[in-house]
């Protein structure tokens, strides 16, 4: 059962990823990414990370992607011309991507980390629950938590500054 779910979710994730990079219209790319994000949420659930999965759906697929949709609607989605100004880019990029993938896989599969071949230790019931994550966030990882909030503030301010309309010159 788990395997089936895994493969379905994996297919969804891969499909979404392919869609993102292959679609001409940026809007379609956004939609493909949403599909990808949902599949990832399923995968997180399979890995007993309930809170992360929920956050993925609510925050990522919910908020961030909505933002994307708004911007795509504003900016519009033109296609890109076929001509490639950088010589060799179109050829080298997939090649390198494949090379990298091969290297990473080899690294993982022939790794001395034997634990990789297992499902992981048995975990208690509340593993990955919001309570558990929240406790960690507020106890052990308080500083990163606070830092992230500052980061969010900065990003918000930055975005307003960047995208705000320029004030007209007053005489």
């Amino acid at each position: 059962m788990e395997a089936v779910l895994f493969f379905l979710a994996a297919l969804g994730a891969l499909g979404g990823a392919m869609g993102v990079i292959a679609m001409r219209n940026p809007f379609y790319s956004v939609l493909a990414l949403i599909v990808h994000l949902f599949s990832l949420a399923v995968l997180f659930l399979l890995l007993t990370a309930a809170f992360v999965a929920a956050a993925q759906v609510v925050v990522y697929a919910g908020a961030v992607m909505v933002l994307y949709v708004f911007v795509v609607a504003y900016v519009g989605g033109g296609g890109e011309s076929a001509w490639e100004p950088i010589p060799g880019q179109r050829f080298l990029a997939p090649l390198l991507g494949i090379a990298l993938f091969v290297e990473l896989s080899v690294a993982v599969l022939s790794s001395a980390l034997l634990a990789l071949g297992t499902h992981g230790p048995d975990v208690e019931a509340g593993f990955g629950d919001p309570a558990a994550i929240g406790t960690l966030l507020l106890e052990k990882f308080l500083l990163p938590f606070e830092a992230s909030s500052i980061l969010l503030l900065l990003a918000a301010v930055g975005a307003i500054v960047l995208a705000g309309r320029k004030r007209e010159e007053t005489a």
Binding site: Q89, A93, L96, G97, A99, L100, E103, A107
Partner: protein
């Protein structure tokens, strides 16, 4: 007070004078600056007398004191102190230098009155006296070299005093460059002395030298030859003499002080001071004597045909210093120093008188245009005559006794040295001829235009301001001679100085009459005690025979001059035609300038040109531009990577990452 504090004071006053006048040139009025300059040297003279008196209070054997202010360098085996050495020889030089300098300062007070650079003049002149005193009072070879170099600089500054005149600056540079050659010789000699004897101080050096060196060993000969290079450059002996005639570009007081009485005698002083070394290297001493003799004759022959008044007197200086160099090289130390003293008197006087005459000629120095000043300028003529009589060694004058003492010594030494006596007398004949040539040409005869103007109106002739050598027009502002010309008849300070010197030139020899008194000789005796040569004394009879011959030669020379220039004035022209090649040789100063130009200047310029064209351009520039080009090329290549395309940057990133991962994979397997 013992002698050394007096000696330090001697050094102090001229230095203070120079600094005060130099720094205060805007605030001090002219007269004050002149008075200050003169008084500081007079004070130095007074302190010199004080040092003399205290020295005389010592026992003759103990008449040498060294004193040092502080250690200049004591490290690594070196022990150089800022030290002076007071003994009869240095006090003698101090007295001569300060005495004559005081008179020359007094003379300049009047002569340079209308010059814009009055303060600068006195500052430089005081500095020169300070350097010369430093040279003679120095107690070790390092301080001697310091004084030597300072004197060279002061000479340069004063020769090119009228710095807007191109001929003057060129002459100054020539003097300085040749003097530097001498400095090199002196410094190398000092190095060798230190290497062999382990000290720079005079006392230890002269004590140890006879023990360390054997006679004519190559080291001591090398030291002496190097010292001679220095001495010849400073004293304008062959072949380093070409700067002296050109140095006449400086104002007349400068010629009179530096190039007659003091700086050019530094070489003579050096040889006398280091006589211990020269006696250990007789070959070098003989070389010096022969060079002195050669200079004597070459300069005397050149002076015979010189038409520039100051240059003629300059060659006369060169010739007389040849006598002195010859004297101290063959062992006639006190005779040589005595001649130094009398020469200072009469040569300074001759230059002063010449300055007065040239001023009357509106700065024209050509004797072909001068005549009849005997009537126009009584005082100056008499002074000039006194000087010329002493120069020609007219019986009874100071020059008579001093010159003949040297020649008598040469005869007493015998053997090869008789050459010096014979040729020395021949030189004396030439001296008498040329000195009275000047007297008769300039002073006698019908007055020339300027002289007539002076007789009739009492005013000094006023021409356009011109460079006497090249005839270029000048103005009379700073850097050029002033607008007014001052003659002795109208300026009391010039008269006072010349009068004192005239008296000294005439009677100064009376201190050293053979058989009667021996003031200089006995005073200097302690210095040369240990020298075997100094004990050679001609007998009284030999002395008087020498004096007789000398007197006769002088009168003969004066007679010849009278014959050629007064009785039969067309004769010189005829002689010139008959002996044309000889005349050309003399008139071209024996072609030394041309020889140096060919042998030294042109090769140096060629090397410079080669260095500039080939070495600099190809090698140095090539290296530098090559490096630059390489860097620029490399930069160009690297710059191509910065294309601005984000995606290509990302690609490179990925390539790097993949490469790194591959490396780690391979290295861990």
């Amino acid at each position: 007070m013992s002698a050394t504090p007096w000696a330090w004071l001697v050094l102090l006053f001229p230095l203070l004078g120079s600094i005060v006048i130099g720094l205060g040139f805007r605030v001090l009025p002219r007269r004050v600056a002149g008075i200050l300059g003169t008084v500081s040297i007079a004070l130095a003279f007074a302190c010199g007398v004080g040092a003399l008196l205290s020295l005389l209070g010592d026992e003759p054997e103990a008449r040498h004191h060294a004193s040092s202010l502080w250690d200049y360098a004591s490290a690594g085996g070196l022990d150089i102190k800022l030290g002076i050495f007071v003994d009869p020889l240095s006090i003698f030089m101090v007295l001569v230098v300060t005495g004559v300098s005081t008179l020359i300062h007094l003379y300049s007070y009047g002569y340079m009155q209308s010059d814009e650079g009055y303060h600068r003049f006195f500052s430089y002149l005081n500095f020169f006296v300070f350097s010369m005193l430093l040279l003679v009072l120095a107690g070790n070879f390092v301080l001697l070299t310091v004084g030597w170099a300072f004197v060279g600089f002061a000479s340069y500054a004063l020769i090119s005093f009228w710095y807007r005149r191109e001929t003057a600056t060129r002459a100054g540079m020539k003097a300085f460059v040749i003097n530097v050659v001498g400095d090199i010789g002196l410094v190398l000699a000092a190095f060798l002395i230190f290497r062999e004897l382990g000290s720079f101080d005079f006392g230890p050096v002269f004590e140890k030298a006879p023990e360390v060196f054997t006679t004519n060993e190559w080291t001591v000969t090398a030291i002496c030859l190097l010292l001679l290079v220095g001495a010849f450059a400073k004293s304008a002996q062959l072949p380093l003499h070409t700067w002296l005639p050109d140095a006449m570009e400086g104002p007349t007081p400068v010629s009179s002080l530096i190039h007659a009485a003091t700086m050019v005698t530094a070489g003579v002083y050096l040889i006398a001071r280091t006589h211990v070394l020269f006696e250990l290297a007789p070959t070098a001493a003989d070389v010096a004597a022969f060079v002195g003799l050669a200079t004597l004759l070459v300069a005397a022959t050149t002076a015979l045909v010189m038409t520039d008044l100051k240059r003629a007197i300059a060659y006369s200086t060169m010739s007389q210093i040849g006598y002195m160099v010859m004297g101290v090289s063959i062992g006639a130390y006190s005779a040589g120093m005595f001649h130094l003293m009398t020469h200072a008197f009469f040569k300074a006087l001759l230059f002063m008188a010449a300055g007065s005459i040239i001023a009357a000629m509106a700065n024209d120095q050509n004797i072909d245009r001068m005549s009849g000043f005997g009537r126009a300028m009584r005082f100056t003529s008499i002074a000039f005559l006194c000087g010329a009589l002493a120069l020609a060694a007219f019986p009874g004058t100071s020059g008579f006794f001093s010159k003949d003492e040297i020649l008598a010594f040469a005869e007493a030494r015998g053997g090869m040295y008789l050459i010096f006596t014979v040729l020395g007398y021949f030189g004396a004949l030439l001296t008498a001829v040329y000195s009275f040539r000047l007297v008769f040409r300039v002073l006698s005869g019908t007055p020339c235009k300027e002289a007539r103007e002076l007789i009739e109106t009492g005013h000094v002739a006023h021409g356009e301001a011109r460079n006497p050598a090249t005839g270029e027009i000048e103005d009379t502002d700073v850097g050029f001679p002033g607008p007014e010309h001052h003659i002795a008849e109208q300026t009391w300070s010039m008269r006072a100085a010349m009068a004192v010197l005239a008296v000294l030139a005439l009677v100064g020899g009376l201190v050293q009459i053979p058989g009667v008194d021996d003031v200089v000789g006995r005073f200097l005796e302690p210095v040369f005690e240990a020298s075997p040569l100094a004990h050679i004394h001609p007998s009284i009879a030999e002395d008087y025979v020498g004096l007789g011959i000398g007197g006769a030669i002088a009168l003969l020379g004066i007679g010849i001059a009278y014959f050629l220039y007064v009785a039969q004035p067309q004769r010189p022209r005829q002689l010139e035609q008959r002996l044309r090649p000889l005349h050309t040789l003399f008139a071209n100063k024996w072609y030394f300038d041309e020889a140096i130009e060919l042998l030294v200047v042109r090769p140096a310029l060629a090397v410079g040109r080669f260095a500039n064209r080939v070495f600099e351009r190809l090698v140095v520039d090539g290296l530098v531009s090559g490096a630059e080009g390489t860097v620029r090329g490399a930069g160009g290549v690297v710059r191509a990577v910065q294309s601005g395309f984000v995606r290509s940057y990302a690609l490179l990133l990925l390539v790097g990452f993949a490469g790194l991962a591959l490396y780690f994979l391979l290295s861990s397997s």
